[in-house]
């Protein structure tokens, strides 16, 4: 709640717009060098997400991004760099994959789903406890420890699903398949309630970070730990809360992946949403509406990338290139914008 000039307010959006334009321009140049008509390629890229199938596919893809982003909005506001989303996602997912058959055997559908969602959330959060404790009580930089827990989780889940947690009745390493009727209820052509949870989570976080006492205090911790200590705000407790909540949302996204989309946990599964979510939350400047827009846009691109790969033979990595370029151009634009403004002021 503060007053800023309209240029200040618009700045992140303009940076974002230019970042998107610039990355598409560089991408076009790359395609052109390789002898692919960029206009044709972009036509394919953009057409894929249109139509009913395109829209539903995009919405399904954006669901985990939304959940992870909701968590990142909290933790990045607290000034903590939790880069371990992928690991927290996987741990949440595998726990749900293992627990689902057991819980489904005893409980009706809805309570079972609620409990499984909770298991995913808590599993993800538990996976962040070590880096969180190290950061908050021992002052150990969380960037590296969270990335390490990512790789640890990749190997751990892959080992578990090939060994102890394996469904012995099938050949590929995986957890037992959850029957379709026990998965998250769908609302529209494959789009399931997970999407609503994701949207509510992002908007809810956006609102609560600015309008609830706890959210506001987390914001204060993120802006100045010294001031927070001085004014009696419990820094350790709130940092811990932010860290674990973000990891929990990543675990929830994992639960969503198992319960809503795949129906099982597979060996060597790592969708690696973390950096994408990170990039979009940063570019959205933690604003809920923009996060939802970008999550949609990124999923839309991913779908288009797959279509490009099918029709033109350009690998899906093209979209990853665009993502990386967008993030870099975004920070450069922010810089340019700030300096142009400063120069004009003086």
């Amino acid at each position: 709640m503060n007053e800023m000039g309209w240029t200040e307010r618009l700045r992140p959006y303009i940076s974002l717009m230019f970042a998107i334009i610039a990355s598409f321009t560089v991408g076009a140049f790359l395609l052109w060098i390789l002898g692919i008509n960029p206009l044709r390629a972009y036509q394919v890229l953009f057409e894929a997400g249109l139509g009913k199938l395109g829209i539903t596919q995009t919405l399904i893809k954006m669901t985990p991004l939304l959940m992870i982003s909701a968590g990142l909005m909290i933790v990045l506001s607290a000034g903590i760099w939790n880069l371990g989303e992928d690991g927290q996602f996987l741990i949440g997912a595998i726990l749900v994959g293992v627990a689902a058959p057991i819980i489904n055997a005893y409980l009706p559908k809805i309570p079972a789903l609620l409990i499984l969602g909770m298991i995913g959330f808590l599993g993800g959060a538990a996976w962040a406890i070590i880096p969180a404790v190290l950061r908050i009580w021992y002052g150990l930089n969380e960037i590296i420890t969270t990335i390490m827990t990512d790789y640890l989780a990749i190997y751990l889940t892959s080992w578990l699903v090939k060994g102890p947690f394996r469904d012995p009745s099938v050949i590929p390493p995986q957890t037992p398949v959850i029957p379709l009727v026990r998965r998250i209820p769908q609302i529209w052509g494959g789009v399931h309630i997970g999407l609503i949870i994701g949207v509510v989570a992002v908007l809810g976080v956006h609102f609560l970070m600015r309008n609830s006492t706890i959210g506001w205090k987390i914001l204060v911790v993120g802006k100045s730990i010294k001031t927070a200590v001085h004014t009696g705000i419990p820094v350790a407790r709130l940092s811990m809360m932010a860290f674990l909540l973000s990891a929990g949302f990543a675990g929830l996204a994992g639960a969503n992946g198992v319960l809503g989309v795949k129906g099982l946990f597979q060996g060597d599964w790592n969708p690696a949403y973390g950096f994408t979510a990170f990039a979009l939350v940063y570019m959205a400047r933690f604003k809920g509406g923009t996060v939802i827009f970008l999550a949609y846009f990124f999923s839309f691109l991913l779908l288009g990338g797959q279509m490009m790969s099918l029709r033109l033979g350009t690998p899906v990595f093209f979209v990853t290139i665009l993502e990386g370029l967008m993030l870099i151009f975004f920070v450069v634009n922010e810089y340019l914008f700030q300096h142009v403004l400063e120069r004009r002021r003086s």
Binding site: W216, S224, T227
Partner: protein, 535 residues
């Protein structure tokens, strides 16, 4: 004091200080203007420096002294104006360029690398040879130190040195490069009087060797002791100067009156002391019993300290910076844990134990603390004034209800503080970081006093503020005391302490050496105690 003035007579200065006018100037700065966002720090300033003279720059905090010096040392580039060194026009792009021209600087906040040794710090940036010759460097450092009568072990890591020792390293670092021009930015602020004496001897020795020295301070008596020439700055402008002739021909009294007139002229005189009658009651509000506080390295920052604070009194704590004053306040406020001893509050309601109960409990019990680190610790620069004003009471009604913030109540509260403390801000929604230093301090005062504290602690409450705001702060503190608050005041400004306090305690190296009544506390006694000399 009279004899010290004599030092300024040319015949006592040794060679090299004849009449500067027939000498070539070392430095000529002309029309220097430097703007920062929102302020003109230097506004068309001229400055001359001749070989073998000490040129003092005098002015209040924020008058533009440090900016001017940083321009000469290459840290800042002027927006307008020219600098010539030995009649050659120069454009310094970095401190490196200034060093190349023989300009050595001792910065106010030291420019030392804490985890390097003294020797490494001294030779840093010399880049004389590819291979580090620490042994040779140590020998040469030893020689430089012998020449100026300094001692310090070149092997020690700088982070383990006291502030005074660090200052010495800074000086060795500068002397090692044999500067022709020496810039000293408030070099005495962290020194004990005997260290000040040592520094002054050295500066005089350099003057005798023909070095030109620019000396920044806001302490008048230091200026009169050392200077051959004085320039006075105010609000970024050069508003006056004292020439060597005037220094030689006028008395101490005359010059100092002249300077005070220039520095403070036009500012309304503070209202007479008569309006303030301290009413110290017998009621003890705060008791500290044998408290020991450890710093982050586990070294005792405060040792076995006991004191009692009464309602309605202002207890001033003097001491060289870093003697444990800040830690003491932080422990009472609940920010720092106490290793031993206890802190108790009040008599009236029975005693309440405050020891290690944390900040929220201390706040609830009526402890308010105005920090010296206003921008880093006091406020959050990119939150609004309104949010900053409620930061300690966000959980309370009417600021929030059901854990949700109520913005209208927050703005109303902020507006009431803005009105009551005359904070210059167009709207409570403005970011706090855009406020001036004085208004930030008013905001902090307002925030802390709005809780109606029984104990108010202030650290450097007027440091860096303009005279008007400083007077406002003093007035506010006295009002609080007369309304029955107990005030614990820490300041490096001895005059401020002596003016406001009913009693003055002196801390040295973590210990409270003595608490003097205001009648017994004169500058000299307090100054000696600050050095650790018990009477």
């Amino acid at each position: 004091m009279k004899t010290q003035l004599r030092i300024n007579q040319p015949d006592l200065k040794g060679e090299g200080t004849g009449s500067p006018s027939n000498q070539e100037a070392l430095v000529q700065m002309r029309g220097i203007t430097k703007r920062f966002p929102g302020v003109v720090a230097n506004d068309g300033i001229d400055l001359d420096l001749y070989p073998g003279e000490i040129h003092s720059l005098l002015g209040e905090n924020g008058a533009g002294k440090t900016t001017l010096l940083n321009i000469l040392s290459g840290i800042h580039q002027p927006d307008e104006g020219t600098i010539s060194v030995r009649n050659e026009v120069v454009h310094f792009k970095s401190p490196h360029d200034a060093l190349e021209h023989g300009i050595g600087t001792v910065y106010q906040h030291f420019a030392l690398v804490p985890n390097l040794s003294v020797a490494e710090n001294v030779i840093l940036g010399l880049n004389t040879a590819w291979i580090l010759d620490l042994k040779g460097a140590e020998r040469r450092i030893q020689r430089t130190m012998e020449k100026f009568g300094l001692t310090i072990d070149p092997h020690l890591q700088v982070q383990y040195l006291s502030l005074g020792q660090q200052q010495r390293v800074e000086i060795v670092k500068v002397l090692f490069r044999k500067p022709k021009i020496l810039l000293l930015d408030e070099p005495t602020s962290v020194l004990t009087p005997s260290e000040v004496g040592e520094l002054f001897r050295m500066v005089k020795q350099l003057r005798a060797e023909g070095v030109g020295v620019v000396f920044i301070t806001h302490k008048l008596h230091e200026v009169l002791e050392l200077s051959d020439r004085i320039t006075i700055l105010r609000n970024g402008q050069r508003i006056g100067a004292v020439t060597p002739e005037e220094l030689a021909n006028q008395t101490h009294e005359e010059i100092s009156n002249h300077i005070v007139q220039l520095m403070f002229g036009g500012v309304p005189e503070e209202e007479t002391e008569g309006t303030y009658a301290p009413r110290v009651s017998e009621e003890i509000v705060l008791t500290l019993e044998g408290i020991t506080i450890l710093d982050s390295q586990g070294v005792a920052a405060v040792r076995n300290l006991s004191l009692e604070l009464r309602a309605g009194e202002i207890l001033g704590i003097a001491g060289v910076g870093g003697s444990g004053q800040k830690e003491l306040l932080e422990a009472i406020a609940g920010q720092l844990p106490v290793a031993q001893g206890n802190i108790r509050l009040g008599e009236r309601l029975g005693e309440i134990d405050l020891t290690n109960k944390g900040v929220p409990f201390a706040m609830k019990m009526g402890i308010a603390y105005i920090t010296d680190d206003r921008i880093g610790e006091g406020i959050i620069t990119d939150l609004s004034v309104a949010e900053n004003s409620v930061i300690r009471r966000i959980d309370k009604r009417p600021m929030s209800r059901w854990m949700l913030l109520r913005w209208q109540a927050i703005f109303d509260f902020a507006n009431s503080l803005i009105g009551a403390f005359d904070i210059k801000v167009p709207s409570p929604q403005i970011l706090a970081g855009t406020l001036s230093g004085g208004n930030i301090q008013k905001l902090l005062l307002a925030r802390e006093l709005s809780a109606d504290p029984t104990v108010l602690m202030c650290n450097q409450p007027t440091h860096g503020l303009d005279v008007k705001t400083a007077q406002f702060v003093w007035k506010t503190l006295r009002e609080q005391a007369s309304m029955g608050a107990a005030i614990l005041l820490i300041s490096s400004d001895l005059d401020e302490l002596l003016k406001l306090s009913n009693r003055v305690g002196v801390m040295y190296n973590g210990e409270l050496l003595e608490v003097l009544s205001i009648e017994a506390a004169d500058r000299e006694t307090v100054g000696r105690l600050m050095l650790g000399e018990r009477s």
